[in-house]
Symmetry: C2
Subunit: 344 residues, 2 copies
């Protein structure tokens, strides 16, 4: 059995040894990525330890001949979605979608007026809804997410996103994405990384828009799913969505989902909650160069401030373990010049 190796952090001696292989570097030959700190790929990040941890990591793994060079096919980066790439307060966007769908479907279900948790949704009684527990939530998700083909569901999500607005910011949810993280996705891809989303959210709720919004195509989105069934209907093949959980891509499920979909261990992982803890462990404790980063919501003014006590996106154990494992913690208030692209 091999000895457990933690994420191998920047080893200045090894880096210098590697560089010693190129004693006289002309500017043209000098590894461009070593200059990453000074370029402007991450303009919405303030200079500081967090930004430096990112650019130093990218420089290490992309420096050909360097001691920590990682071949391009192994440059896998995984990103949580809710609270890491876009907003998750006052509730997950997908839950807002489910509540809107209940309202849209209500005319066909007169019985919901007297039946919880639907009654609470229709009356906008969020207190009762919050108290009704996980089973009620699963019920709401199933009713609104199954009973149609995958194609029909994609259309429902797409249409909803066009009209739905966040109550506080009065903007489409697809504008409530974090500009610094968008830059980070692009920066990693520009450095040969494949970027994957690994979210507790529904995979088919995300895929209709992740390519346009994040530049992440459907085959690079991993998420929770319900079961589907292949059928020929009127001579046409369809996948019908069933009210049955297939996979929950959260907590210890994230490494499982990563292995199933990607089949390769990531070397960089980005999350914001305890749901991302095992994904961060999986990516950063396999030995070799790696980067773990937690987005810490500390900015009530520009976005929200929450962590250990939050209902959605609770960040508690993972924050403690981040310190032990030397994961970077992005303090939104101090590390981000801008949260959203639309800010002045």
């Amino acid at each position: 059995m091999t000895t457990p190796r933690a994420c191998s952090h920047l080893n200045r001696r090894r880096l210098l040894l590697g560089l010693a292989l190129f004693p006289v570097l002309s500017p043209a030959l000098r590894p461009a990525s070593l200059l990453a700190q000074t370029d402007d790929s991450l303009p919405s990040w303030n200079d500081g330890a967090t930004k430096q941890a990112i650019t130093t990591f990218v420089a290490r793994v992309t420096t050909q001949g360097g001691p920590d060079f990682v071949p391009v096919e192994q440059r896998i980066a995984v990103f949580d979605n809710d609270g890491t790439l876009w907003i998750e307060q006052p509730m997950y966007v997908q839950l807002a979608f489910a509540l809107d769908r209940v309202k849209a479907m209500a005319p066909l279900h007169p019985e919901w007026k007297d039946q919880q948790p639907f009654k609470a949704v229709l009356e906008g009684d969020m207190k009762t809804l919050a108290e009704s527990g996980e089973r009620a939530l699963v019920q709401l998700i199933m009713v609104t997410h199954s009973g149609m083909t995958t194609e029909e569901f994609t259309n429902i999500v797409t249409e909803w996103l066009v009209t739905a607005r966040d109550a506080r910011f009065r903007r489409p949810y697809t504008e409530l994405i974090y500009q610094p993280m968008l830059e980070l996705l692009r920066y990693l891809r520009a450095n040969g990384f494949k970027t994957f989303i690994v979210s507790g959210g529904g995979v088919e709720f995300m895929r209709p828009w992740t390519e346009r919004i994040y530049g992440v195509g459907p085959d690079q989105v991993v998420g929770s799913s319900i079961k589907t069934k292949f059928e020929m209907r009127d001579g046409r093949p369809v996948l019908f969505r069933l009210p049955e959980v297939n996979f929950i891509d959260d907590k210890a499920g994230k490494p499982v989902g990563i292995n199933e979909h990607i089949g390769r261990r990531p070397i960089a992982a980005f999350g914001n909650s305890d749901g991302d803890l095992q994904m961060l462990q999986w990516a950063t404790m396999g030995g070799g160069p790696c980067l773990g980063l937690i987005v810490h919501h500390t900015d009530a003014e520009r976005e929200y401030a929450y962590d250990r006590q939050s209902h959605f996106g609770k960040l508690d154990a993972a924050l403690d373990i981040a310190a032990l494992n030397k994961w970077s913690v992005a303090d939104m208030k101090h590390d981000w010049k801008k949260v959203f692209a639309f800010e002045a």
Copy 2:
């Protein structure tokens, strides 16, 4: 509800209309892929209807401004593995692996000497084994494929492939891949396609070698799987393989697996058995340009000849439906100049 549309085949009129947009094409501007028939991307394919169906399809979907142009991100091609990309007779390679593993593990299991189906494996009694049914087969797979970490399993597969030899050809299995299909994979990728493997075989049995052998990376391999469990062992994260089926990527499971992993409908599908029928339907009956192709094993001399009665890779219903749907059927004996790269 939209009217069911079958795969839209080459429409000469539409193609000509599209070409009419470029009345005077200099050689430099002429869509290169329209010349595909005459180039040598598929040297192991004999000229004929099958090769032409392939090159014509690729020309149509890659001709910018043409009536059937498909944007690059939608160019998804899916390939079955056993019998489509490599050999599957006299048994699936993965079954040969399982039998070898039983023999390797036998010293630790003295009870297997008297216990079926292990007894039959250890005695090389293939007749009893063949008669022992699916449940026995699943038992052999579970015993040999679970009880270790994903990393350990990858190492076991990798080491086995180095030493294992096919009895008839006396070669490593990774040399028993079909040269024309390898050319086809490369040809499609050169034309902007993402190529995926979608196999009934175990996803973790394939991933250790598909990148090297087929140029298909682990994140583009879809297959059957057993459940895994995330654990911290001695401070190190592992995924432990459990003796429990997670997903069977065969028959009606193939479109489900494609949707889960790829999240986009393929426009080209390649298979060789009834296990690929629904995948072919899913890829070719969604409307729009598409290509369905069945590899028909007709060459007992260079490889094997089998179809409707075969135990492994039975091709019966899919062959009948191929005719109705105008899928191409590659007749190995007549369409392939070469089956394996090592042929003179």
